[in-house]
Amino acid sequence: MFPSNQTFTRALQQKGINRRRFIKFCTAMTATLALPPRYVAQVAAALEKARKPVLVWLQFQDCAGNSESILRSSHPSVLEVVLDLFSWEYHELVMAGAGHQAEAALERVVREEKGKFLAVVEGAVPLADDGVYCTVGGRTALDIARHVCPNAAATIAAGACAWDGGLVRAHPNPTGAVGISEAVPEANVINLGGCPQNPANTAAVLVHYLTFGQLPAMDQYHRPLFAYGRIIHDQCERRAHYDAGRFVQEWGDEGHRKGWCLYKMGCKGPEATFNCPSVRWNDGTSWPVKAGHGCLACASHRFWDVRSPFYERLPQVPGFGADVTAGEIGMGVTAAVAGATIVHGIASAIRDRMRTQPEAVPPQASNQPPKA
């Protein structure tokens, strides 16, 4: 909470936050961004210079889980993000204004901050039936997204729904939902997968933007590499148990109590990239696998359809029932072939027998030398 012409440090000091804590914050940010420690000074310098860029947070077909998640942010705290680092001008979940006044606030940003503000999008955008499945102020989500996102310096897709349509887009996708970069291809989008995204990563992206004036390095899905570059399984604290072959077999069994690997319970850690094991959730308190349940790979592309069923190793084989696993189908096919072979063997033996009935064939005619 400081005038825009004041430096960030002074503002922090005004809040009673001393230099040491500020540097600590910058160090934490530098680490989350996977930057070498020599960048701490640059992060600090950038934040000290920072004027407050404007940010708007749009909610479409969402559950507000990503908004709630950002409320749980601790380094920086949501207060620091919302009031000190940015001017957070629009966010339906928490903004003071409503109705026309809220719409006007958004309009003003698009008009006056064109090309300079950041947009965060939460939730999918429905395309079916002219977008009637989500309207705000009588306008469709698509209409609003097309109006706001191309005018933003960058658009942050917060969570699976905004990235790739998420749960809303899962089969049969009743509303024709898509993620923001599909809805508005011309927007400059960074995707923060996860259901919800982890506030530590969102904060890091925001600080990166403040520090370098641009988005961090991204992968093929436009996700920041610092958060999505590594496989969960390779960072997991239960990994030693996996390597040793120590697996939880039943919920609550001895292995479960001892923190063994959840692979057999359907853990999707081996096919999930995210930094849960290192940054964890809620101030580093825990993460799903630590708490005893398998990972769903919630930061993977279209994870709802391609990582489920969540208690099986592999996806469903298309065209078979929901409870039939690939293993069962494979075993079935193998058994069928084995069965058919046995039947065929018996049948062949019978044919053999029939063909060798002595009376069946006249007793000469054969044993000629070859014609050729």
């Binding site: 390597d243 040793a244 697996f247 096919e271 189908i329 494979g330 062949s348 063909r355 060798t356």
Partner: protein
């Protein structure tokens, strides 16, 4: 027709030839070597692969590295498999007429006719086998399918490998694939093909025994020794057919 009095029921039905069959060197060494390395590798890969899919042995608290070892064996054997496969592919171009790629790709009408006859034979619509020096047309196509599945298994295997290990050479070669087909479907494919191998082996061994028995040509031995015992007329027919193509 068979000289029935010469042997009782249950024996083969090929006419007892007047002249002893010729001993023909059908399967050259690389064919046999790759065949048996592929076979051994598939056995090991299936066992270890299935364990990776479903670790049915769960270690005690003190057992070290069970899963890690199994995965290591799987990957090392995977590379043995790849080597044997590559050898066989090389021999598609270098090998004799029976192991040449032309023997597998059904481009001629007679190959399709041959397949039809074999299907008829297997479904008891036809009494006699189609005699062949190399593979019969149906077997050849089946092998072609299996070679394709082996290729897919290798590609998916290496893609999984780049996921679990990375690496400077393989990662750039294979990391594009999961962007097109999700890694879970790559896994699923890799897993399902294993059962195609199971089904194939059952049928393969059975038909080898069946045909060997019916033809009395030393078929089974041939994949060890390389030699088959072929009646002269068939050998002549075989080369005539190929020349006609």
């Amino acid at each position: 027709m068979t000289e029935l009095t010469k042997h009782g029921w249950g024996e083969a039905h090929r006419p007892e030839p007047a002249f002893p069959p010729l001993r023909v060197y059908v399967w050259e060494q690389p064919v046999r070597v790759s065949h048996w390395f592929i076979f051994l590798a598939v056995v090991v890969l299936s066992f270890t692969g299935y364990y990776i899919h479903n670790p049915f042995i769960v270690a005690k608290s003190s057992t070290p590295f069970l899963m890690a070892t199994i995965r290591f064996i799987h990957v090392v054997t995977g590379f043995v498999f790849i080597s044997a496969f590559l050898l066989r592919i090389y021999w598609f171009f270098k090998g004799n007429e029976w192991s040449n790629w032309r023997a597998f790709v059904p481009v001629h009408r007679r190959q399709w006719r041959g397949m039809g006859r074999m299907v008829a034979y297997y479904s008891f619509l036809r009494k006699d086998l189609v005699h062949q020096v190399g593979h019969n047309a149906l077997a050849a196509v089946t092998y072609l399918v299996m070679f394709t599945l082996m290729f897919v298994e290798i590609i998916t295997g290496l893609t999984l490998y780049t996921q679990v290990r990375g690496g400077w050479l393989l990662a750039p070669l294979f990391s594009w694939l999961p962007r097109v087909i999700d890694i879970q479907y790559i896994r699923l494919t890799h897993f399902c093909i294993m059962f195609a191998f199971f089904a194939f082996v059952i049928h393969h061994v059975y038909s080898a025994v069946l045909v060997s028995w019916e033809e009395r040509n030393g078929l089974i031995e041939s994949i060890f020794t390389g030699y088959k015992f072929v009646p002269r007329d068939e050998l002549a027919e075989d080369s005539a057919r190929r020349e006609a193509d």
